[in-house]
């Protein structure tokens, strides 16, 4: 399972890049299986860490995606709405979900680093 070293991770399988980009992990996409629908937040929305802000749906189930940190949604990825399978094929790249402007730039340090997330998913 791919767990890039330069990202931070929430226990619920979201990743956060230093520039505020958020997505779901390789482990998460594999668990969810074929992703067929993605619902993204509206840009401008203020979110708190732990808020459900997006929904990712496979054929079998709908899953909430949580904000990893406090912030404001400044951009969303229209490509995943048009082609939800990007979350399966490129979860850390073309399959990113939205970008946050962090309320506290230091907040990312409260999330797991790659080693801790690797340990979590075993």
């Amino acid at each position: 399972m791919n767990v890039p070293d330069d990202l931070r991770y929430r226990e619920s399988h979201e990743w956060l890049r230093a520039d505020g980009t958020v997505g779901i992990t390789d482990h998460a996409q594999a668990e969810l299986t074929d992703i067929v629908y993605v619902e993204l937040p509206k840009p401008g929305r203020t979110v708190r860490a732990g808020d459900p802000v997006a929904v990712v749906e496979s054929v079998k189930a709908a899953s909430d995606i949580y904000a990893p940190v406090d912030g404001e949604v400044v951009e969303v990825n229209p490509a995943v709405e048009a082609d939800p399978a990007l979350l399966n094929t490129d979860p850390f790249g073309a399959g990113w979900l939205f970008k946050l402007r962090l309320t506290d730039p230091a907040a990312a340090s409260a999330l797991k680093d790659a080693a801790a997330y690797r340990a979590q998913i075993g």
């Binding site: 074929d34 067929v36 619902e39 929904v55």
Partner: protein, 364 residues
């Protein structure tokens, strides 16, 4: 309670299937992915483990006449080597279970019932037992495989020997395989041509391997319960527990063709005769989303003119149609193809239209 495993568990594990508990059975929900597997069945063929389904063997001189008084379909008129779909009903005409009746010989009938209802069905049948109709629940001793898809016939002919006679639609024959007898039926629940094979559990892994080996060049792949569910929804086949329940009659489900009301006696008959005279209030109907939406799912509300009129009994993103589909018990006035509806998905409502069933019909 720990899940039970079928005789094919080692094959599912070796293929790295994702296993889930289904009605007390440890079953593959998918191997490579539901969409891939669904497409394989529509365009080539898929192989399913259906060993979780209950197999009840009824034998003896009274097998057919006795069963005729228990189930809705006309077993007496069912010639040997033929199969038919029917129901076990309660006295109110509600569905206890839907089942396939395979008349394998004049005095021998195999019932294949839902995994989730097997115990209940068997107890009910046993409570009405007849001395000349012996009942045997083949629990744990029998396995079942479904080979479904346009390539199924060719694959089976290849795997069992080309000269072998294959049964016609809804036919069932007995064949030797590996020193055992297997029942080969031209039935299925996917909307495609295909076969269901019932055999002793010990012989199942060898047949599974042989079919996959001979079928791989034609695109055969193992398929799980996930694809089985999306396939049956496109074909508008009901799933008991979702689309059928003790509160719903076959007439309300639009499945009156599987009820022989001209038979003198079976549980629920009087209620259905009354209902036929008075007319049904609801009809099980298919719908299709008008536009892109999140996948519709069971229990999502169905609205007409702003009022909730039903909830979906089943729903999914149709892999074949590329759009959401659903099934719902609609008031009869709305159960007309072309009727506009709305489906509530989270905070939003999405437009849908009632369709003629089935939503998918295989090319002739």
């Amino acid at each position: 309670m720990e899940s039970r495993s079928t005789a094919l568990l080692s094959r599912h594990v070796a293929a790295e299937a994702r296993l889930v508990d289904f009605a007390g059975w440890n079953m593959p929900i998918q191997y490579t992915g539901i969409l891939d597997e669904h497409r394989a069945v529509r365009t080539a063929a898929g192989l399913f483990d259906i060993s979780h389904m209950g197999q009840i063997l009824v034998t003896g001189p009274a097998a057919a006449p006795w069963l005729d008084r228990m189930v809705t379909c006309d077993v007496g008129a069912l010639a040997p080597a033929h199969a038919r779909y029917g129901f076990l009903l309660n006295d109110q005409g509600g569905v206890i279970d839907d089942l396939f009746v395979y008349r394998t010989a004049p005095d021998q009938i195999l019932l294949v019932v839902n995994a989730s209802r097997t115990e209940e069905d068997f107890a009910l049948l046993r409570a009405h037992a007849h001395p000349d109709a012996h009942l045997d629940h083949l629990d744990g001793r029998a396995a079942g495989l479904a080979l479904q898809g346009p390539a199924a016939m060719g694959i089976l002919a290849e795997a069992l020997g080309r000269a072998r006679m294959l049964p016609p639609r809804n036919g069932v024959i007995s064949l030797p395989f590996d020193g055992e007898q297997l029942l080969l039926a031209r039935t299925g629940y996917t909307g495609e041509d295909g076969f269901e094979i019932f055999l002793p559990a010990g012989a199942a892994p060898a047949l599974w391997d042989r079919l996959l080996e001979h079928g791989a060049p034609a695109g055969l792949r193992p398929c799980g319960l996930g694809a089985r569910d999306t396939l049956r929804m496109e074909a508008c086949y009901p799933l008991n527990g979702n689309d059928l329940s003790p509160g719903i009659t076959p007439l309300e489900a639009g499945l009156g063709w599987a009820v022989a009301l001209d038979k003198p006696e079976f549980p629920g008959r009087a209620a259905l005769v009354r209902q036929r005279e008075q007319g049904v209030m609801r009809k099980w109907s298919a719908l299709r989303m008008d536009e892109k939406s999140p996948p519709p799912r069971a229990h999502y509300p169905v609205y007409s003119g702003g009022n909730q009129v039903a909830e979906l009994s089943s729903g999914t993103l149709s892999p074949t149609l590329g759009i959401g589909i659903g099934l719902a018990h609609l008031p009869v006035a709305l159960a007309v193809p072309g009727t506009p509806l709305e489906i509530g998905i989270r905070e939003k409502r999405f437009r849908a239209t009632v369709q003629k069933k089935p939503l998918y019909k295989r090319p002739a």
